[in-house]
Point group: D2
Chain length 140, copies 4
């Protein structure tokens, strides 16, 4: 198991370009937020799809770390996203992940994506991560 | 219908931050490339998932433009990606989109994603775009 | 809006072959069960994937009816299923659907699929239905 | 590797209820057909979604057998289907599968589903199978 602080430090060190902020980790889940500015917008004055996919992907990654510790080489094998509502250009995107399966080699979770302050989700994702066998993991 | 030059000019103007390069548009398809540098990498020395999802999403968007003209407000409703092989850190990602349905309000396409120079795809995506009714589209 | 009884009568009349039983409809959701016998099994002594996909698809269909009335021509446009655990051969499959978007022309919902009596889901599905415009619907 | 005849015999023995007919197996692919009669129809006079999902699922299963031999305990982990056009009530559904990855433990393939005689696909599926380690496989 990794704490929120350990996960946040890992993400800051290994994904130096990311704008994702780790808000919570644990209890088979995680919450990740992403600021929205001009770089995140697309025609229609709304947040671009890839920003939301990034938040979903990171939320799954760190939710797994909260359960089994930091496993950098865990990789996404499948991510499926449904875009539901147009997020306003003025609010952060917040992804709330809940793992629905945590096996030895595969983990599956769903992520509800919100525009901060809105009650209904703007998108919903389901993803699968492949967890490498212990010997293949980098020493940490 | 929009030409490759028209589409490239639109993307450059409206998505100023993107590193996506339009390589081909037309015949119910499109080819989009994305440079890979330190910003695109993740632990394991491979390209991060969101980079590949971005290429898939843009390739679908511009393939639609090649058929019906530039419709900026077309939006992704669903994108599902399978990650198949680890792309090396040293090559561009190239997405080749083929539309499999182009209806009045929905378009569906698949995208094979390659690491430039590799024969087998590194990822495969299928996505749906919602095309707004004519009156809702911005004049261009 | 349609009641559980109205929906069950419609399904019985229009899908005479189905083994799906409507257990609950309403509050943006539905519960559908499916008996498991020799016809539903596959090698390994477990329930075949298509049985679970069928339960998910029907649960989405009837959840929509619970909100907008019986619209027979609503059709699935996308269904994505993750299979999580091996259901035993001896228990019904129960699908619990929750709609996450109900628009005028598209509805999206997720379905957790259980083997009756197990606490953790055996599968999870997300699906989109296209709802035809009023004039295209059959009179009922 | 298993031949078309071996695969067809296995399916006939183990899935006695199925209406799926194996038409071709090999070259990283498979073709599977399914008759359409009253049991396969839904309101609107079209083929029900679960019939198409079943064809896709079986086509993936047998395409894998064509490459690695008959592995009954291979199981679907993910299946995502897009429904594109309304198949007529009068023609068989034919699924043409092409594997896009065949690893030791995971195989991924896509399936184009046709209404026999139509040129454009009625649906498109992408699925992942988990292949059990050799020792876990039943002797055959």
């Amino acid at each position: 198991m990794a704490t929120k602080e350990e996960v946040a430090a890992f993400i800051a060190a290994e994904f130096t370009q990311t704008k994702c902020v780790i808000e919570a980790v644990g209890n088979m889940g995680a919450t990740v937020a992403h600021a929205v500015g001009p770089d995140e917008l697309r025609p229609g004055g709304t947040v671009s799809g890839p920003v939301m996919m990034t938040v979903a992907d990171v939320a799954l990654y760190v939710a797994i770390f909260g359960e089994i510790g930091i496993v950098p080489l865990a990789v996404t094998t499948n991510l499926s996203v449904n875009f539901l509502r147009k997020p306003p250009a003025t609010s952060r995107i917040v992804g709330i992940c809940k793992l629905i399966k945590l096996g030895k080699s595969l983990a599956v979770g769903e992520v509800s994506l919100y525009s901060d302050g809105m009650k209904e989700p703007v998108a919903h994702a389901v993803g699968t991560y492949s967890i490498p066998p212990r010997k293949a993991q980098e020493p940490r």
